[in-house]
């Protein structure tokens, strides 16, 4: 009873302060942002909107060949540079990188990121506001194709690799030691994207498949392009890029609100 009284008294003081300030608080109205999308013209643009209604903002970067955005932090790759950017599209830091595309993964809080550059088999971490090249010798061969990367915790990374006998997840410590585990991802097809919560996004004949860490799956009906790639667009959104046309799509991966949408084309 005493505890209840104390709680109520404290909150009463707090609320009095809120009332006095609440009118000023309403001035913060802006368009809702759904992350960043890479476009066929090589630009990176913010996406504004809600499910079913999208607007592309002005370009914040050009000559982008790979990109991903966690909801608070983004990575992009040009032919020679790896860059990190914030939610406003402002570049925070850059580092030199080998040519070619990269795959990206984010920590659950979206503040730590990994980039894997295939052409140099380089793993780069963004943490504590700096880039660090991670020495690693995962048990992948020269013929393995790295499809995706994930950061399941602060100590380990996972590579999703395509091998002759299927797609495998190779988990290894960021300390540079050898792989600690490997497992076949039965039923998973390329392209595939690994999200921070451990979900895998890939496709089947009917459209998009979201496979949860417990193995359960959600299927999103969609007519997919013949050849496409997947990139994280925001915390709850994945971009699907048609590799044969300028079309870009957005997949909503939030549990219970999954959906498949088409984004406007840049430069329309």
């Amino acid at each position: 009873m005493m505890k209840q009284y104390l709680t109520t008294a404290l909150i009463a003081l707090l609320m009095a302060a809120i009332v006095a300030q609440s009118a000023a608080a309403q001035s913060g109205i802006r368009p809702p942002q759904l992350g960043f999308a890479g476009n066929a013209d090589g630009t990176l643009r913010p996406v504004y909107g809600v499910a079913g209604n999208f607007i592309l903002g002005p370009s914040v970067a050009g000559q982008v060949i790979s990109q991903a955005f966690s909801g608070s932090l983004g990575l992009l790759k040009t032919d020679s540079t790896l860059a990190v950017f914030d939610g406003q599209g402002k570049v925070l830091a850059t580092t030199d990188a080998a040519a070619g595309p990269a795959v990206f993964g984010f920590s659950l809080d979206g503040l730590t990121a990994l980039a894997y550059v295939a052409s140099s088999s380089t793993l780069v971490e963004w943490a504590a506001e700096e880039f660090t090249t991670i020495p690693f010798r995962p048990e992948i061969s020269a013929t393995d194709v790295v499809l995706a990367i994930a950061l399941p915790n602060t100590l380990e990374a996972s590579l999703i690799v395509q091998r002759e006998d299927g797609i495998w997840e190779v988990q290894f410590p960021l300390t540079g030691a050898r792989a600690v585990s490997q497992k076949a991802l039965v039923g998973v097809t390329a392209p595939v994207l690994a999200l921070a919560l451990g979900e895998l996004v890939f496709s089947d004949a009917g459209g998009i498949v979201l496979r949860n860490p417990d193995g359960s799956e959600v299927h999103i009906a969609a007519q997919l392009p013949a050849k496409f790639s997947l990139q994280q667009m925001d915390g709850g959104w994945v971009q699907l890029s048609d590799l044969g046309a300028p079309r870009r799509f957005a997949i909503r991966v939030v549990a219970g609100r999954e959906g498949f949408y088409q984004l406007p084309e840049a430069g329309q």
Partner: protein, 467 residues
């Protein structure tokens, strides 16, 4: 003794092939009629390099099944083009389906008389053909001779228009050639133009003429060019002057904001017309003071206009090169009008987007405890642009509303200011910052936000606070 004779007869009958118990007869088939053949068949006269195809039908005129076991052809200039795989069992003849077809090519290489023997089981048929000097026929700029039976396609031609092809006769031999017959038949085809039979050609000499195609209707047309004993097929596609009736069909007829929909244009009949038109999108806002919503657009190609293409045989038009065109309905109440313009007129279809309560998007909800403040954020769209009152109700960690009750804020002017400046239609994201000057924000567990517009009140239910 009698018993032995009967047994011997039965034994011999068992050894005899089925064909010996039935009757195979061979017919020459001209495409419409079968004519029984005798011991000799003259397949006709061809020019060296040409091919005459002679079609034979084999029937079983007996009462039991018969087996075609032997088929051979011996002699220069003749080849079997197609025949059934042997042995081939023929049922007693009852019609086309119960007979076998054998096609023989006569392809002379030099001027001469040719003969061959075709053996059908035990029936021997002599085949004869003649290669006579004849003019080489070419068409257009091609120097490749046309073989007898070849097809010349005049392409797709509008009804009333004329497409002409030039044919050239060449005497490539060493003796004079006389072309006695030069004729064109078939609806829509006319000729020869500029040359009339008989035509005498000296060695090396050429003569040209034209054949025209003037379609009478939007349909496929066929004709025949005859040069002496050889015939050449003529084909063309008439194109109607008008496209078939087209309609505008939405994938979903439900009019609502923030929807992605698609449009297709089925045709009332397979098109005999080729051409292009346009499909345009226009938006009339029903919100006072709001003239447009730029998010209402096609999702491929130009924002609000698409090229519509119809080709012969199409049963639906292509829009921007696709079978259908996706578009989004924006976040402003009003009417979206699609106008299809083809050369036989225009038609329109509309989608009405009714005004609705504020639609809140759960993806945008967040409530965060920061040092010295609480931040509450929610977003969605208001397709009436009339959002006015925002109310917050805070709950403690036991999900009990705080005793202060609901905090109501008149935000009408803030929303009007925002909507008048934004290019995002009716979409918005509110960030409400509540400074904490006293007490502990950790005692607050969740917040409910309500927003009112001209259509009613919408609620973002109990957004939990995170750190």
């Amino acid at each position: 003794m009698i018993a032995r004779v009967v047994l011997l007869f039965a034994w011999l009958a068992a050894l005899l092939p089925l064909s010996a118990l039935a009757q195979l007869e061979v017919y020459e088939f001209n495409g419409t009629t079968d004519t029984a053949v005798g011991a000799l068949v003259n397949v006709g006269t061809a020019a060296p390099g040409d091919t005459i195809v002679t079609r034979f039908h084999v029937r079983n005129t007996g009462s039991g099944p018969a087996v075609l076991q032997t088929l051979s052809l011996a002699g220069a200039g003749f080849t079997i083009q197609s025949a059934p795989s042997l042995p081939y069992t023929l049922a007693p003849y009852v019609g086309l389906a119960s007979e076998a077809e054998i096609d023989i090519d006569f392809s002379p290489t030099i001027i001469a008389s040719y003969s061959a023997t075709m053996l059908v089981n035990t029936t021997s048929i002599a085949l004869q053909g003649t290669a006579a000097p004849s003019a080489v026929v070419t068409v257009g700029s091609s120097t490749t001779p046309l073989s007898a039976g070849a097809t010349v396609n005049f392409g797709s031609v509008d009804v009333g228009s004329k497409q002409a092809e030039t044919f050239v006769l060449t005497n490539s031999g060493t003796a004079n050639i006389n072309v006695a017959t030069l004729a064109v038949s078939g609806t829509g085809f006319a000729g020869p133009i500029g040359l009339f039979a008989p035509v005498s050609l000296n060695p090396g000499q050429t003569a040209s003429f034209q054949v025209s195609f003037t379609p009478k209707s939007g349909a496929a047309a066929q004709g025949v060019l005859t040069v002496d004993t050889r015939t050449f097929n003529l084909t063309g596609q008439g194109l109607s002057a008008l496209p078939p009736n087209a309609s505008i069909v939405f994938a979903s007829t439900v009019g609502a904001s923030a929807q992605q929909n698609s449009i297709s244009i089925p045709l009332a009949a397979a098109s005999q017309w080729t051409g292009t038109g346009t499909l345009t999108l226009a938006f009339q806002s029903s919100v006072t003071g709001v003239s447009d919503d730029p998010a209402i657009q096609f999702l491929s190609g130009p924002l609000r206009i698409a090229t519509v293409t119809i080709s012969p045989g199409d049963t639906s038009a292509e829009i921007g090169g696709q079978p259908s065109m996706a578009f989004q309905t924006g976040t402003t109440a009003g009417t979206i009008t699609f106008t299809l313009a083809l050369n036989n007129g225009t038609q329109q279809a509309t989608l009405t987007i009714p005004p609705s309560q504020v639609n809140l998007d759960a993806d945008t909800f967040s409530a965060v405890r920061l040092y010295g403040s609480l931040n509450v954020s929610f977003g969605g769209f208001d397709n009436t642009y009339s959002a006015s009152q925002v109310a917050f109700t805070f709950y403690d960690l036991n999900n009990l509303p705080l005793p202060q009750g609901t905090i109501t804020v008149d935000s009408a002017s803030a929303f009007q200011q925002y909507f008048s400046a934004t290019q995002a239609g009716g979409m918005f994201q509110v960030l409400a910052e509540f400074p904490v000057t006293a007490g502990s924000s950790t005692l607050i567990g969740s917040v409910t936000a309500q927003i009112t517009n001209s259509q009613g009140v919408s609620t973002a239910q109990q957004i939990p606070f995170g750190n």
